[in-house]
């Protein structure tokens, strides 16, 4: 009897939960390029990026059952997990004193993402579809807004650390992040309107 390899992310995840190696392989084939690119953007070193990527898929393999299937959003879960893991790796590499010991509890709390249970569904195909619009929306932000997003997302700096880096008050950083994300969302929606 032929083994059906599912085509949607959700079905792949379901099979990964059932320890279907082919499903994990398919997930790897589908997501590894974007995840590898994201990791390398954060950790910069190629060997470290490969190490983190392999750790990410190990986490997915081991903890796919902790994925909230009601959200139906594998993409955001995987991307966020990868980003968290890469930032954590980078901070440990820098011997940051604030990094806690890495154990199961730590991983479940700080690496595995907690998605909103009302989050819209999103998969990598859709992300690819609207990639240009996202880029366009991002370009419409000011340089300062783009920079705080970069520092927070890719460099993994906390708001306090961003304030120290930029030598600006913490409330200002909080405000900038809030405005930047709001504007990004608004630009993305308006960009869609312009397309229409």
């Amino acid at each position: 009897m032929a083994l059906n390899i599912p085509s949607t992310d959700i079905e792949l995840m379901q099979r990964v939960v059932a320890y279907d190696s082919k499903a994990l392989e398919a997930l790897y084939n589908r997501y590894s390029p974007i995840l590898y690119t994201l990791i390398k953007k954060i950790v910069t070193d190629q060997n470290a990026a490969e190490e983190v990527l392999s750790d990410v898929f190990v986490i997915i393999w081991r903890k796919a059952n902790l994925f909230d299937f009601s959200t139906g959003n594998v993409y955001t879960w995987v991307i966020t997990l990868t980003r968290n893991k890469a930032v954590d790796f980078f901070k440990r590499y820098q011997n940051s004193s604030e990094v806690k010991p890495y154990d199961e509890a730590y991983e479940n709390k700080f690496i595995l993402p907690k998605l909103s249970h009302t989050i819209d569904q999103l998969d990598i195909k859709t992300a690819l579809h609207i990639k240009e619009n996202v880029e366009s929306a991002l370009n419409r932000l000011t340089d300062a807004q783009q920079y705080v997003i970069y520092l927070g997302y890719y460099e993994g700096l906390t708001q306090k650390e961003i304030a120290e880096r930029l030598n600006i008050p913490l409330p200002t950083v909080k405000s900038k992040i809030k405005i930047a994300l709001s504007n990004l969302k608004e630009n993305l929606v308006k960009g869609n309107d312009n397309v229409e």
């Binding site: 082919k22 990527l53 968290n84 909103s116 579809h129 609207i130 990639k131 927070g152 708001q159 993305l188």
Partner: protein
Amino acid sequence: MSNENLYYDLLHAYALGCLDQKDLNILNEYLDTGGEFFWQELGEYQNLAALLPSILNIEAPGIELKDKVARKLYRIRNEKRAKAPEEKPNAVISEEQKEAPAQNDEKLSNLFSRTRVLIKEKESHQHITEQQHVKETEETLKPVEEKDFEPVITKERFPEIVEIKQEDIKDIKSMDESFSDSFSTGEMEIDTGGITENKYIPPKEENESKPYRLHGIEEREKVTKSKGTGAIILSIILFLIAAAAITYIYTKITSEASVYKSGLQKLDNRVKDLSSQLAGSQEIQKLLQSKNVKIMNFSGTNLNSSGFGKIILNPETGKGYIQLNGMPQLPSNQAYQVWTIINKKFVSLAVINPADGINFYPIVLPEINDKVKLTFLVSEEPSTGSSKPSKNIYLTGTME
């Protein structure tokens, strides 16, 4: 409610993943209680943050990494078997999530509540290459026989990959054979076709980790470069205009300067003339003030009845001046020559050209007897002078 505002303020940074530890703990504790929260908004921002990496220049990992992942999982499986029985999957998938991909796409298009239209627009204007990638992805994920999974690697099917040499395929397959153990069902083969799944691979380029780059902002760099080129061209044009203006001004100033220079030269000459005349006048004045000075008047002849002149002479020194008036203008090759007769011989005293503008011409007589009567003539001669007077005598006079 102040708490609501507090949690709302944390929402954006939480979605981006940059909350301070203290705030993160506060929010996590609250979220764990399941209390009221801006879940819809949180979900939107979490999706938004997850979309950020999609615009990066995608770079696929090396083939060997897949092997590395497989080995790691193999090791974990062994550890797991050694520790505890297998856990049963507890994932529950709703009927909605089991729908066909096409229907799922519609649900996905509800992203941000506005993207449905966008996706439809996108699908209608989708690039052929993206369509090929989508088709290829779906084809590779089609139901596959559990055994004998042999990917067909052709250039048509996977046009964007670097050519895979047959030797590489053989090497990969040999690695594949070494990992024939499965995790639960079937064999986990290293699918060489998997690398071709990397539909996101652009033409191979380095993934530049540029600081402060949210995406491959080559477009922005192009714009910057073009702006720089335009600024350079504009600068060159302005420079040429300025150079032309400076050249014109310089030429004009130079020409005016030359005019002024010639005028100055003329004035200078005039000053010199006047100075010499003044000196001459002073000499004449001095001559007139001397004790013995003789003045003789010339008379006109038949050739020049209106002409007249005089000689002022100091007989002691023999120095004097001659002045001519009412003389006709001569051709340029002619001049007036002044003679005196000494010992029955004509002695030339001066060759005068009245066009010179000089009023008093200096003359010097040779030593003469003061008491001898002297006769003076003014004749027309060649401008270079003559050894004896011609017949054209214009003025005569006798000094006693």
